[in-house]
Amino acid sequence: MAGPANTGERTEQSPEPVLVFGEVHTCLLQHGQALTGRGAADLLRLRADERVRLSERPNLYVRSPDVPTGVDCHLPSASGAKVRAVGTVTARATLTEGRLLQAGAHCTVTADGPGRRRRWGHYLARPGVVEPFGTLPERDVADGCLGAGRRPGDLDLGAIADRTLTRVLRDRALDNQPPFKSQVTRLRWVALRAADGEGPSLERFTLAGDGLRMAELRLPAGIPAAAAAGLCHDLALHDWLLTTLVRMVERSRLGSTDGRDALTALRPAVDHLMHLWMPAARVDQPLRPLWEALEREPGFTRQWQILVQRIRDQLALQTAAHLQP
């Protein structure tokens, strides 16, 4: 990802970052046509004072400015321990190929912090960093972040991501005529520090119900939070594509009904989805091996290709049937 903010780096006054967590929501842009770069840039101008980033290669990708949200609340924790933390959370929205909208929020948590609140200037100078009161029980908080049953009032990055997403979706430039129906998926992720000398790894990637996914990473020191967020956005995007295509194939009743019906149901996949598959296109070099691990197990691209092949075969069959007198 281009020029990530160096939020993960250690500074004199700020203790060492040991945990990054975030949530990213992914959906189809609710618009009939794919947006052009300019249209996307207008849509994602979430702050007047900062530029939207746009890149055209290897695909059209537009990213909003980072929007900071000040927080002073408890972090989620699996044990129920109350860990108060203060700082700012970073939220952003992205649009890939003018079609796939993502909104994510993440923050870096330091190993410890003073037992009182500092001046706001301190936190504002460290966008995307929150400091706990005392020592951070990082495993407990990481489990809390991934856990579903969270206490009301705890820091809820999902709510921030959701607000960012709905804000974009409310934009009147959108005609609300998407080419097909689809679900929003949510990826909750945490990144803990890897053991000394170990490289980055993806400890787990699991599917819960209702479009919820969870990922846990291990990252060596020095990998910026923005790079981790970039990887998770990329995972979330491809997971959405796979989830959506699986659902489309299911709904088309491929192989069981009249082929022509299946064709109508699958047409949008061909027109709007197939060209979007581009794993790791925007993942920083040091994190690419994590994608490779996913390719081995559960084999994201293999699953995608099998589905795509089934659809292509069906299309070919239908075309052949059509040509027969």
């Binding site: 959906c27 189809l28 609710q30 809820d156 999902g158 709510a159 959701d162 709905t166 979706l169 409310r170 009147r172 959108l174 005609d175 609300n176 005529q177 998407p178 129906k181 689809s182 679900q183 929003v184 209702d210 709904r251 009743r253 069981s256 009904t257």
Partner: protein, 305 residues
Amino acid sequence: MLVFAASDKGGTGRSVTSANIAFHRALAGDDVCYLDFDFGSPTAAAVFDVPSVMGGIVQGGLHSYLQGQAHEPVRLDVWARTEHPVLRHRPAGSGNLVLFPGDRSGGEFAVGNDSVIRGIDLFLRLHSEFDVVLVDLSAGRSYAVDLALEVTARPELHGVGARWLIHHRWTRQHVIAASGFAFGPRGILSGGVARGHDVEELRGSMRFVRAAVLDPETPPWSLAPPAQSAWMRTCDQGLHRLAADRGVGYSAMLGSVPLEPVLQWREQLITDEDVFSSRVAGPETLKAFQDLAGKLTDDDAWGIP
């Protein structure tokens, strides 16, 4: 498409008919959700046979969401949660069927700007996911009706089609009430226009649904003694004239569900099984629900060329 189910009076069959429409759309392969906006007496869980949320859920339902107490309303997968013996095996090729329950102690609440924004976000989100979004509004000119009129008038929702089904029983009182509810001075049409709806567009998106209709031409009523039969015919014709005069006649009607003994006793879904295996329900009832489900998106039925 958003479909709002409204009625002037209670007990018009609004919930039972709407739930059956949702069910039949889902059977046909559409992704459908049912929103229990009946602030005050949520009953949808009973119809879908999801006993765990009977009478609404304790918190986190639609009321909590609209009042800003939950950032997403609770959703229940009906196929997975129902205790209905037939529905537990999700039929092949069916679409998703999701219930959004109301809160148990939801009651009525005022429509502030915040709840309008939440309503906008909710309907936009559901429109992006579901083919049919069925909203069971509470009886009368409730806050739920106001909220629906307000939200659908907002420019953010342009492009999201909305239709209104006004449910009533087939009696003089109900016909008069339904007409007033739709077209009267405090009715939906004038309420909608006051919120910025185009009068013709809104009128064109409204249709009436009759429930528990007793048809003198079909058995058992057609088999009544001649005097009784003649009397029923006369009454029925009078009712048809009244309905036509009040704008609730045949051309404004989307469909009509016969008086069904099973529904008289129990709020439930009518399945093929009920009609063809156990034979407790009438085939006309099943057909009426299937017809309604089909006509919901059939442009002919809505006068769209």
